[in-house]
């Protein structure tokens, strides 16, 4: 049986530890450039084991799926062959368009957009808690990865790097509610349709695009792309498709629920965008400024015409 003095001491120790941990959370909650040596040590120690276990589990899952879906495979194969022949035809058209695009770009003196350096990486683990959407990739600062670099797949945007150790990095996914990306509607492309895409808290696994102006042209099935504003995410990467549109509580702005283009449950290989390409951001900004200048010039011209007309 514990005496009241010992009990009191135990409670005091517990409260002290709680206080220390809360202070530690406060200090480490902010984004950090580098992890502490202790974190670096444990992540580096765990990453080879995680890599082995992860590739084993993915291999096992794929084998089970092949065994389960053997009958469906023949049908799927036929469908895919049919689709492939369709795409072969399309690829010629795409090549024609690409060449035409290149010629037009040369005429307009534009730079090529896809000048990113990509670092291929494997997903080796995922955050086991349901609250945060982070994953671990097998490339760290020794491979050139740094904090805030964007992470993509060929399907679209995945997230960005939030912590880097020697041979592994932590990536915060697009679906995390702490994440915000500047997005634009592919169809309309005007500045009014820019909004912030953040992880949806009501619908886990989906994103929510907020602060879209009331006049913006946005509809269901529209594709949302990254706008490049903010400098972390390169422009032109697919974020997802609009599932639902609504008005905010004051009715002044619109919001959209977005289904991400990337299937986050099946992520295996990703690319870290090493170089954003300054030219691209400058180009985007230049476009915006030019638009404004054009508008101002247009207004000046029309005002001038009106003035002349009155005289």
């Amino acid at each position: 049986m514990l005496t009241p003095g010992v009990k009191k001491k135990k409670v005091l120790i517990l409260l002290g530890v709680i206080l220390l941990l809360i202070i530690l959370i406060g200090f480490t909650y902010r984004e950090r450039d580098r992890l502490t040596p202790v974190e670096d040590f444990f992540i580096s120690l765990a990453s080879p084991i995680q890599e082995g276990v992860s590739s084993l589990s993915i291999h096992a899952r794929d084998t089970i799926q092949v065994i389960r879906g053997y009958n469906e495979l023949a049908q799927e194969n036929a469908e895919l062959e049919e689709e492939l022949s369709k795409y072969r035809g399309l690829s010629h058209q795409v090549e024609e368009l690409r060449q035409e695009n290149q010629r037009l770009r040369e005429m307009l003196d534009f730079q090529e957009r896809s000048s990113y350096d990509l670092i291929p990486a494997k997903v080796i683990a995922r955050d086991p808690s349901t609250w945060f959407n982070t994953l671990i990739i097998n490339k760290g600062y020794n491979d050139g990865v740094a904090r805030d670099m964007a992470v993509t797949t060929k399907e679209g945007l995945v997230g960005n790097v939030i912590g880097v150790s020697r041979h592994a990095s932590k990536v915060l996914l697009l679906t995390d509610s702490r994440r915000a990306v500047s997005g634009i509607v592919q169809e309309s492309r005007d500045m009014g349709t820019i909004g912030f895409v953040e992880g949806s808290v009501d619908k886990p696994g989906y994103c929510r695009m907020v602060n879209i102006s009331r006049e913006a042209e946005i509809s269901r099935d529209d594709v949302i792309m990254s706008s490049g504003l903010g400098g972390v995410f390169p422009p032109g990467l697919v974020i997802g498709e609009v599932m639902e549109i609504g008005r905010d509580e004051y009715g002044l702005l619109q919001y959209a629920i977005i289904k991400p283009a990337v299937n986050f449950n099946r992520l295996e290989e990703v690319f870290v965008v090493e170089d954003l390409g300054e030219e691209i951001l400058e180009e985007e900004e230049f476009d915006f400024d030019e638009d404004l200048n054009n508008e101002e010039n247009y207004q000046e011209e029309t005002e001038g015409q009106e003035y002349n007309g009155q005289n």
Binding site: I22, I124, R126, P128, S129, F132, I162
Partner: protein, 164 residues
Amino acid sequence: MAKIKVFIIIFLTLILQGSIYPFLNLGRGQPDLVLILVVCFSILWGSKRGAVIGVTAGFLQDILYGHALGLFALTKMLTGYFSGFTEKNIYKDFVLGPMIIAFVLTFLHEGLVFVFSTEVMYLPLINILHESIFPRALYHFCLTPFAYLLLYFVNKKDFFYPFQ
């Protein structure tokens, strides 16, 4: 030696849990295997050891997967501490007790993460209870007998000696 064994078990469980998510994910999130371990160890060895194991396991989780250091250390320490209160009050060879404790303490653990992660401002609590916490608690209820019986028998065989 017992401390090292416990540490290795928790470390490997954390790695497994993060890397075999395609198998563990049943549509509504995945179970927290480390939380189940913390609860089981606490039931076997009491509050003090439960809290120490909880804080160690939580720190490892924060390091490997978390964003802020100390968040899971705090929540798992408190979960280990409270589940240790049942050490002297349940029949240790009857598995239903640990199953119920794991079920109930999942609500405490997830509730603490909810509060300490500042997500409380944005998340509708009823939705979270229904969509995330309750399925997870049920998942833990079903998985606890496997972990508890294994730990209970190896503990009886003095695998964790001098811990009893």
